[in-house]
Structures are given as C-alpha cells and as structure tokens.
C-alpha cells in the first residue's frame, strides 16, 4: 500500500467517500504536486491541516485529534 493510499485509508475512517477528494483538494491547494507524490514530511504537514479543517466540520475534538495523530504516526513511522 502506497503512502497516499495509507493516508486515504486513515481519512476515510472520518470522511468516508469524501476522503480522497478532500486529500486531493488539500494537496492541490497547498502543494505543487499530485496527491500520489506525497512524502512523509508532507503527511506531517497535512496532519496540521486536518486538525484545523476537520475542526470546522465537527465539535468532536477528540475525533479530530485522533485523525491528526494517526497521520503524524504515519509520517514518523
């Protein structure tokens, strides 16, 4: 499983079928590369975007932190 697929897999647990679209949109918006070219450093940065953007969709801070922490773990693992 590629890094990108692992990221999609984690975010899918929270955003379901919207996850892949969300990741591609975030990468398009912030990086000049395709989502498939994500590196571990990018995923660490993405964890922070997730923390702030998912917080706009839910009041459940624990869930948002859990998603961001899983991405952080992926970037450092």
């Amino acid at each position: 499983m590629s890094l990108y697929e692992e990221v999609v897999d984690i975010v899918t647990d929270y955003l379901g079928p919207a996850a892949e679209r969300y990741i591609k949109r975030q990468v398009d918006f912030h990086m000049e590369k395709s989502a498939e070219e994500l590196t571990k450093e990018d995923v660490g940065q993405m964890a922070e975007w997730v923390r702030s953007s998912l917080g706009l969709l839910t009041q459940d801070k624990k869930m948002v932190d859990e998603c961001a922490d899983r991405l952080v773990a992926l970037s450092t693992g």
Partner: protein
C-alpha cells in the same frame, strides 16, 4: 443561483393559479354538508401548506442536485445525481396531478364531458411519476453499492419488504376490485374507466411494483448510511437518508389513499381524511427539508479548506 430563483418564482406563480382555482371551485356534492365558509377554511389549510411543500421539495432537490454535480465523477456523486433527478420527478408528478385534479373541480360541467380521459390521465400521473422516480432511486442505490460493497450482504431486509408489500398489495387489490364503480358508474363518475385487464396491467401492477421499489430503496438507503465508512460523513448523511426515506414513505401513503377511491375516502369521515392529509403534508415537508439540510451538510465536507468553510473564515 439565478436559475434556482427563477424556478422558485415559476413555482410561486403555479401555486397562485392552483390556489385561486382551488379556493373558488364550486361546492359540488358537499358530502359533509359544510357551509361555504367552513369549506373555504378547510381548503385554505390544505392549499397553503402546498406552497411550503413545493418550495421545500424544490429547494431540497436542487440542493442535492448541486452537491451531486460538484462530485459527479465519484460513485456517491453519481448515486446522488439519480436521487436528485428522482426527487424532481416526484415534485413534477405532485404538481401535475394537483393541477389536473384542481382543474376537474374548478370546471365540473366541462370536466364531466371529458371526465373519462381526465380521470385516466390523472390515475396514470399518480402511478407513473412515482414509478419513474423510484426507478431513478434504484439506479442511485446501484451506485451506492460501489461505495459500500457490504450492502450486497444485506439480503435479510428482502423478506420483511416482501411481506409488507404483499400485505399492502392484497389490501390494494381487494380495494380496487371491490369498487363497483371502477370501470362504469350509473350515478356519478367511475374511478378508473379501464377494463379489468387494463386496470391490472397499467395501474395495479405498476403501483405494486412502485411500492416494492420504494421500500427496497428506503431499506438500501438506510443500509448505505450504516455500512459506509466515515464518522463525520455518516453523521451528515443521516439527515439526507431520513429525508429520502420520509419522502418515499409519504409518497407510498399518498398512492395508497388515492387507491381507496373517492367514495371510500368520504366513508372515512371528514376528521380522519383531514388528519391523514395533514400528516401526509407534514411528513412530506419534513422529508424534503431533511434532504436539503443533509445535502448542505455533505456539501460542507467538499468545501472545507484549512481555515474556512464555504468561503467563510472560522470565527
């Protein structure tokens, strides 16, 4: 946005015409011996909510359509495009049948000369629009299955669906064929003006098929909401699912009431008829409002960027 507003204005004009013709229709048989003031007030309590329901229906279907169009390349987007089209078809059928029904009440003498084709057309409107809408919903369910493959394993609801539809179909068939005025009427107007064979092939079977489709769709939409991944997505989807199921159930109830025929409906008594109508109107309005709210919430997921939702900065 301008396009939606234009359609809303058109809807308002259609409703004003409908309201005027309905409220100025002659009293007719006056089966419940109401005064003209009582009749006017009762009509008003039905005519007024129609505007809210039509507006809620159009708003809900448009919201869903907008959201589905924004993600049309994905399977869930394709599914919701079918659902949005189905909701538009249901709304079109509801408006067309309401207008035609009002026309026959407003000009009873003229309508009586062409009552046979009018009644046949009205019956087909009641049957064919929902059938077409549910068929579109089925296409949507097929796309949902690509997103949540576990839905394939959900075969258990089939049996309860068959039991419920069989029972409803039995009551419906008995109701239709114990109606002595189904093809001819010596005193008034017949209910269907169709031979038994045509009645079975073009009204009874399509109606039963539409109920089967509708319940199958309702169960599958709920199954999708349960099986699809994504904690935040599921919460947003729940309102949309409840709304779609509400609209489907409300349209089944309407078809069932219509199938009773006017004589049996009058036999229920004024209070019971009004209760059924109001419950139906409220259920339908809530269903469409939930569709709009659900679509709006799902759209937020597609719009969210770091620090903003729908172009607005987080406060």
């Amino acid at each position: 946005m301008k396009k939606v507003s234009g359609v809303m204005w058109f809807l308002l004009v259609v409703w004003v015409i409908y309201a005027y013709f309905n409220l100025t229709s002659p009293i007719g048989d006056n089966a419940f011996e109401l005064t003209s003031v009582q009749l006017f007030l009762i009509r008003l309590t039905i005519v007024a909510p129609y505007l809210l329901i039509w507006a809620a229906a159009l708003h809900g279907a448009n919201k869903l359509s907008d959201y589905a169009s924004s993600i049309h390349d994905s399977h869930d987007g394709k599914a919701l495009v079918h659902f949005a089209r189905g909701l538009h078809v249901l709304l079109a059928g509801m408006i067309a049948s309401t207008l035609l029904s009002t026309f026959t009440s407003r000009w009873p003498e003229f309508a009586s000369t062409i009552h046979r084709p009018l009644q046949i057309t009205l019956n087909y409107l009641y049957v064919m629009f929902p059938l077409a809408a549910y068929a579109l919903f089925m296409l949507g369910v097929r796309e949902f299955r690509q997103v949540a493959p576990k839905m394939r394993a959900l075969t258990k609801p089939i049996l309860p669906i068959l039991v419920i539809v069989t029972m409803a179909a039995a009551i419906f068939v008995i109701g239709v064929f114990t109606n002595d005025e189904r093809e001819f009427s010596l005193e008034g107007q017949a209910t269907y003006y169709l031979s038994d064979m045509n009645l079975v092939l073009t009204i009874v079977l399509p109606t039963i098929a539409s109920w089967l489709l509708a319940l199958y769709v309702a169960v599958n939409v709920w199954s999708y909401q349960i099986e699809v991944k994504g904690t935040i997505y599921k919460k947003s989807l729940k309102k949309l699912s409840l709304g779609l199921i509400g609209v489907v159930v409300a349209s089944i109830v309407l078809q069932f009431l219509i199938s009773l025929g006017s004589i049996r409906l009058i036999g229920l008594g004024l209070e019971l008829i009004l209760v059924w109508i109001y419950v139906w109107l409220i259920a339908l309005a809530i269903g469409y409002v939930l569709v709009a709210v659900g679509a709006r919430r799902l759209a937020r997921i597609e719009e969210v960027e770091v620090g903003k939702v729908n172009g607005k900065e987080k406060s």
